[in-house]
Symmetry: C2
Subunit: 207 residues, 2 copies
């Protein structure tokens, strides 16, 4: 398997964490896509993922899997022991809900702020910016920190593993919030404490 | 189980289709949330889903599952025979990818156009609109029809069921494109032909 990504960026890190949690880091070859130079928007890469985004998983037979959630489903089910996405109906549903909330309200919102209301990755990549929409998403990201917090349902799940997958997304979102001008999130004491706890996991420390 | 929704709207229809495909329609009680009147933004409903959106699944013990993908995971795994979301790693990954692409690039883009660049659900609900962002998403939705089309990988999957879950989202997206002023998508011959085929399924005809 190959992973096309760019180390240190939020979505690539989601998959690097998943790989480490599944013990699969050494089973993949990492291929660097020069995102700051816009390589992910060129025809050769668009043939792998028409959405023009990293990471992308390439299977041995050349099939490409894009979208972090899809790649995580693949990695998590390879050994038929899904520790990240859950096994039974209820657990799967709660993990998916938390994960989707964290992705939509926190990670995607923070990324929209970054790409629209800051210089983002530079004028050669940010060819369309809507500053007002970017600023609106700064508000959404800050509000999303509250919405993406696990409620009593998920917290009651077995061995605390159920919130795991959702946590990845909150973590990446919180890192992105810290990035550049987005300092509002950094003042939130509970988020910082949670982030410090999660950062102790080896999978996260090296992502 | 209860489903809080509003019949005929795109996201509620996704779950009504999933229920029908799983033979579970009569196992749930439907509770109408008066979305046109803004009931989904009131405190009583926000306690069920802080995102303020339908549909929401309420389990017997009062736990709420929001987000269509999470509800579908629940319904599909109740009998441990996931016919909508796939079983093995590769199938699950490809279905998730198609589904996420259709959701992000087509359904969400068309909905953003609807809520931002048209009167949407009316001024009492559309309290923030960014017309330029709405128009940009009209372009994204039309481009997304191409991106969300199943490629050679998924088409080669067994019994054609793999594209099923992704199809729901394309269908809802295409309905939304047809809705109101969004006529560009309606002129696409292949989409219309595909839509006519899918509309023959009983689950879709009654959603």
């Amino acid at each position: 398997m190959k992973i096309y990504d760019y180390k240190g960026f939020p979505n690539p890190a989601r998959i690097r964490i998943a790989l480490a949690e599944k013990g699969l880091t050494h089973a993949v070859e990492f291929v660097t896509v020069d995102v700051p130079a816009g390589e992910h928007k060129r025809p050769e890469f668009l043939a792998r993922n028409p959405a023009g985004a990293v990471p992308v998983l390439e299977l041995e037979d050349g099939v490409h899997i894009a979208e972090c959630t899809a790649i995580t489903e693949y990695l998590d089910h390879l050994d038929r022991q899904p520790i990240l996405t859950g096994e039974a109906a209820r657990e799967r549903a709660l993990i998916h809900m938390l994960h989707r909330r964290a992705e939509a309200n926190l990670l995607d919102a923070a990324a929209t702020y970054f790409h629209h209301a800051t210089p983002g990755l530079g004028p050669h990549i940010e060819i369309y910016q809507n500053r007002e929409w970017g600023e609106k998403n700064r508000e959404r990201a800050l509000a999303g920190i509250a919405v993406s917090r696990p409620g009593p349902g998920p917290a009651a799940l077995s061995r605390g593993r159920a919130v795991h997958h959702g946590r990845h997304h909150r973590l990446r979102g919180s890192r992105l919030c810290r990035h550049r001008q987005h300092r509002g999130a950094g003042r939130l004491v509970r988020l910082k404490a949670w982030r410090a706890r999660v950062a102790e996991r080896p999978s996260v420390a090296h992502a």
